[in-house]
Amino acid sequence: MPAGRARDRMVGMLLIDQLVKRHGTRTVLDHVGFEARPGRVTAFLGANGAGKSSTLRILLGLDRPDGGTALVGGRPYRTLRDPLRTVGSMLDGSGAHRARTARDHLAWLARSNGIARSRVGEALDQVGLASSAGVRVGRFSLGMGQRLGLAAALLGEPQALVLDEPVNGLDPEGIRWMRGLLRDQAAAGGTVLLSSHLMAEVADVADDLVVIAGGRIVATGTLAELTTGYDRLEDAFFALTGGDAGAHR
C-alpha cells in the first residue's frame, strides 16, 4: 500500500516488524512488531525480562536480530547519518564513563554528530544539571545519571526519543518534570517511545500502549482501549501479561 509505505518513511516514525532474537536456545523476542508514531507518546510495557530492552537495543542498532526489521523513518538505525539528530536515546543510565565530567561527556557526543557546542550547556540546563556540569559522573546519584542520559538524548534536538525506563531513580518531582518533557516533545510533533514495567507510571503520559510478555506482544492500543473494563491500571496490566491471574475480575 503506497500510502502506508510513505507513512513508514516519515521522519521519526519507529517501525518494528517481526523481530526475533535468540540467546542460545532461548527465544527472547518472538516475532515482536509495533510502531511508535510522531506526535504520540508510546509506552512499551512489560515485566522485567519480558523483552523490552532487547527490542530497544535492536532498534538502536546495538544488537542484531535473528529475524525481522527495526526501522527509523524507514531506515535501519546503523545507516542513519548523524543519528543523534534523528533519534535521542537512553538505555541503562547515562552511558558516561565515571571518570569523565558531564560536560566532557556531552561535548564528545556533540562533536561526533556535528552538533553545535552550545547545545551542551543548553541540554544540561534543560535537565537541571547546569550546576553539576564539571562533576565527574562517578559521583552522580542514580537520578542525576538519568538526567544526564536524558540530556544526551536531547542533545541533537531529535525527532524521536527512545527511553528505557526513564523515570528509574527519579524523585516524584523528577517524574513530574519528565512527564512534562515527554508530553512537550509529542506536542511538538515528536515521537516518544518509552519502556516501563509499571503501568501506573505511564498512565498520565502515554497515548498508546504496547504490552510485551515473554517475548511476545500481547496487546496494543490506546490507553483507554486497553484499560476498559478494569478497576485499576495494574489489574489491566497483570491481566494482559498473565503475571497475576487473580487480578483479572
Partner: protein
C-alpha cells in the same frame, strides 16, 4: 566532516580520560627519570676518570635506554581507549556502559574502530615526538662534551623512528586484543609482562625458531642498540612481520566488533 566528527570525538574522549594521561605521564616522566639516572651515572663515571664503568659515554644512548618504557605507555593508551567503553558504572548510577552511548552516536563500527586506531597512532607519535627530544636534550646537558657521542644524528633519527613504530604497533595490538576480549586485563598482562618481566616469547624461541615470528620478537630490532638475543629477523623484515600481525589482529577485531551485540 563525517570522518572528522568521529575522529575529533574520539580524540576528545581519550584526552578527557585520566587513565590515558597516566599512560602518557608514565612515558614522559618515566623516560625523563631513567635518562637523568643514566646520564648522571655516565657523567660521574667520566668525572671520576673511570668511563669504563659504563658501557659507553654517548648522550643519545643514555636517553635511548629509556625507549622500551614507551611500549608500556602505548599499551596503556591502546587498552584504556577500549576498556573504558566496556567498564560498567556502579549499579547506583544505572550500571550502564559507555559503549552504548558510543555506538548510538557512531553506529558504523568499522569507521569507529578506524577513528580509535588513528587517535592512538597520533597520540603515540606525539608522545614520542615530545619524549625523545626532551630526554636527548637532558642527557646532552648532563653529559655534555665530557662524553664521546658514537651515534650520528641520522642514526639517532632512524632509531627514534624505529622505536616509535614499535610503540605504535604494540599499542594497536593492545587495542585489537582488548576489543576482542572486552577486558582491560588480558592485553596489559600479556604485552607488558612479556616485554618487561619474563619474556614468554623469548623462552619459546628455545623450543622453536618460529617464535621469532611472534609480533614482539619480530619487531624487537626496531630498537637498534638495545641489547637483545641473537637470531631472528632483521629490523626491516621484522617490522613488516610485526605490522602484519597488527593488521591481522585489527581486521579480526573489526569483523568481530561489527557482528557481535554491543
Amino acid at each position: 566532516m563525517r570522518v572528522a566528527g568521529p575522529l575529533v570525538a574520539e580524540l576528545r574522549k581519550t584526552l578527557t580520560l585520566p587513565a590515558a594521561w597516566a599512560g602518557i605521564a608514565v612515558v614522559v616522566l618515566g623516560s625523563i627519570a631513567i635518562t637523568v639516572l643514566n646520564a648522571v651515572t655516565t657523567r660521574s663515571a667520566i668525572d671520576a676518570g673511570t668511563p669504563e664503568r659504563v658501557a659507553n659515554t654517548s648522550a643519545f644512548e643514555a636517553a635511548f635506554a629509556a625507549m622500551p618504557l614507551g611500549t608500556v605507555g602505548a599499551v596503556v593508551l591502546g587498552v584504556v581507549m577500549i576498556s573504558s567503553e566496556y567498564a560498567a558504572n556502579s549499579t547506583d548510577a544505572g550500571g550502564g556502559r559507555q559503549i552504548t552511548a558510543t555506538l548510538t552516536a557512531m553506529p558504523r563500527r568499522v569507521s569507529l574502530l578506524a577513528a580509535k586506531a588513528t587517535v592512538l597512532v597520533v597520540l603515540v607519535i606525539a608522545v614520542a615526538a615530545i619524549t625523545l627530544p626532551i630526554t636527548a636534550g637532558i642527557a646532552t646537558a648532563v653529559i655534555g662534551g665530557a662524553g664521546t657521542e658514537t651515534v650520528t644524528p641520522a642514526q639517532a633519527l632512524m632509531r627514534g623512528l624505529g622505536g616509535a613504530l614499535y610503540w605504535t604497533l604494540t599499542g594497536l595490538i593492545a587495542t585489537a586484543v582488548t576489543l576482542l576480549t572486552r577486558s582491560g586485563l588480558i592485553a596489559p598482562i600479556v604485552l607488558i609482562a612479556n616485554s618487561s618481566v619474563v619474556s614468554v616469547s623469548l623462552l619459546l624461541t628455545n623450543l622453536t625458531p618460529l617464535a621469532h615470528w611472534l609480533p614482539d620478537l619480530a619487531g624487537r630490532r626496531l630498537f637498534t642498540g638495545v641489547d637483545t638475543v641473537d637470531g631472528g629477523l632483521a629490523a626491516g623484515p621484522g617490522a613488516l612481520v610485526m605490522a602484519g600481525w597488527t593488521v591481522l589482529l585489527l581486521a579480526v577485531a573489526a569483523v568481530v566488533f561489527r557482528r557481535r551485540d554491543a
